[in-house]
């Protein structure tokens, strides 16, 4: 009897550890790949504005105008457009990742995770929001 119980426990432990070693999140879907490539292309235009401080990274996983006065008047409208497009794609990306993993309700947590990682990976000199929402230069 004892042997059977311990066998049962061993089987349970093996099962539990297999379940704990959860697989990576699914990010290889056509929708996510399309968003990624659109954002990568847009980054070529946005990078200069991150560096100049015109645009910064927000604490909620978006980008926002930080110093509009540093943008030449003629470019302001196009920068506004870039920011709006980027935020639209980011929202879609967070939503798609949650959906690809069969948990649409995870979108907000995916956004929180990304917000932190965008800021962690930002180059020095870029402006980012700290947890209380104040702008700080990295």
């Amino acid at each position: 009897m004892k042997q059977r119980v311990s066998l049962f426990l061993v089987a349970m432990l093996a099962f539990a550890s297999a379940a704990l070693a959860a697989a990576d999140l699914e990010i290889n879907t056509p929708a996510i790949a399309a968003l990624q490539s659109a954002m990568q292309t847009r980054h070529n235009k946005l990078a200069a504005y991150y560096a100049s401080g015109a645009v910064g990274l927000t604490r909620d996983g978006n980008v926002a105008l930080h110093d509009a006065s540093s943008i030449p008047l003629a470019e302001r409208q196009s920068v506004n457009g870039l920011v709006a497009d980027e935020n639209r794609d980011r929202a879609a990306l967070y939503r798609e990742i949650a959906r690809a993993n069969a948990h649409p309700e995870w979108a907000a947590e995916v956004r929180t995770t990304f917000a932190q990682r965008w800021i962690d990976k930002a180059a020095s000199g870029w402006w980012v929001q700290n947890p209380s929402g104040a702008w700080v230069k990295k």
């Binding site: 009897m1 099962f15 379940a19 996510i32 990568q40 995870w106 990304f114 990976k121 180059a123």
Partner: protein, 65 residues
């Protein structure tokens, strides 16, 4: 008597294990999400995996510090 006790313990363990599986599926996998975020950010910002800054530092006047 002992057999019944063992039976109850077995049922309890099985129940907890099942509950654990459901829990694993419901809770947000933060570590995996972070890994996924890193992969995507590295691609969008064209970072080499493991590299820290998004753009190479412009000034290279000798060693800082």
């Amino acid at each position: 008597m002992q057999n019944r006790l063992v039976g109850w313990i077995g049922t309890g363990v099985a129940g907890l294990t099942l509950a654990g599986c459901v829990t694993i599926n419901i809770y947000f996998p933060a570590a995996e999400a972070e890994k996924a975020a890193d992969k995507i950010i590295d691609q969008v910002w064209q970072l080499k995996p493991g590299a820290k800054p998004a753009t190479p530092p412009a000034q290279t006047k000798g060693e800082a510090k």
